[in-house]
Symmetry: C2
Subunit: 192 residues, 2 copies
């Protein structure tokens, strides 16, 4: 019973990664190379993942691909963000962090944060970090409580694995604190 006006563009993690990278116009092949050769290896560089994802974003009107010829090689389609795409990126970055976002690894948060400064400026990065701190506080409490319950129950390898998860979240907290002090010195704007 979804009304047309309420129909909202649902975008998976890969979609946001592509939107963020397309702050600089690029071809599908360029994006594949980024995924295969840099720290963004988290995303598959397979053509079967990227080309369909780009096609979906284009169908949603968030990016636009134009054929570029003349540079000698096979034709390339260069993709660029549309105004709607930029708006979607901004919306995604500005959203507050939910507790659930901390549960399944920190990669998604880091993707958002990485793009926050070029898209919305340092003030938005700071806001994201503060939102992270607020969400982290009750989450860490819950994890520590769970560790106390778990301690006597599970084998020590299970307990050690849990402890790593706790420590990674504690690391995130320290990282956020330090990043905040980096940012609170000066702020500048993002996209116009």
């Amino acid at each position: 019973m979804t009304s047309l006006s309420t129909m909202q563009t649902k975008i998976p993690s890969l979609g946001y990664a592509l939107l963020g990278l397309l702050l600089k116009p690029a071809s599908g092949y360029d994006l594949r190379k980024i995924f295969s050769s840099t720290s963004m290896r988290t995303y598959s560089d397979s053509p079967g993942a990227i080309y369909p994802a780009l096609a979906r974003l284009e169908k949603q009107g968030l990016i636009r691909g134009t054929i570029e010829k003349g540079s000698g090689l096979r034709r390339r389609r260069i993709f660029r963000l549309t105004p709607r795409g930029i708006a979607e990126l901004k919306k995604w970055i500005a959203a507050p962090i939910t507790l659930g976002e901390l549960t399944r690894g920190h990669e998604l948060f880091m993707l958002r944060f990485a793009f926050s400064e070029p898209v919305l400026g340092a003030a938005a990065s700071l806001a994201l970090l503060q939102s992270l701190q607020a969400a982290l506080k009750p989450y860490l409490l819950a994890l520590r409580k769970e560790l106390e319950i778990l301690k006597p129950v599970v084998a020590s390898s299970g307990r050690l694995a849990f402890e790593y998860g706790l420590r990674a979240s504690e690391l995130l907290e320290r990282w956020a604190q330090q990043a905040i002090s980096t940012y609170s010195k000066h702020s500048n704007g993002g996209l116009p």
Copy 2:
């Protein structure tokens, strides 16, 4: 062109999580509760994920579900590991760590490690940790090198995000070192 004898059971992450949890026989509902209420929230607790996954594992002959009645409520199917299931679990845990396993978050490694002691004993846990250390050494070098290249290029939010990834891997290294010292004191056996 896959020959029948070569045909190998391919198991996704959720499948291994279920196999490991089924060291203690449980119903689908029991497993859902574990995913919804404990630190294993990484996995969806939705019936649409778990019941089909259990059905696949059963079709592969790795688990066996038996209807249990009499306890008053609606019938429950209790699942147990078969000998083939136990063998598959052992094979998974004993496999050496690949560099690729470090790239996409550390959750998969931690799942393996958590089950290593109950399934194969402390000696296997130790071996896994040493394999981790060996894989981590070149990986950390590569990350540090990439950071040097990235530093002047990306916005500071991007650099900070990358730095978190590096620090999480350094944390993993320290955690492994400490876990090794926990284990090297004494070792005991796993499943018979």
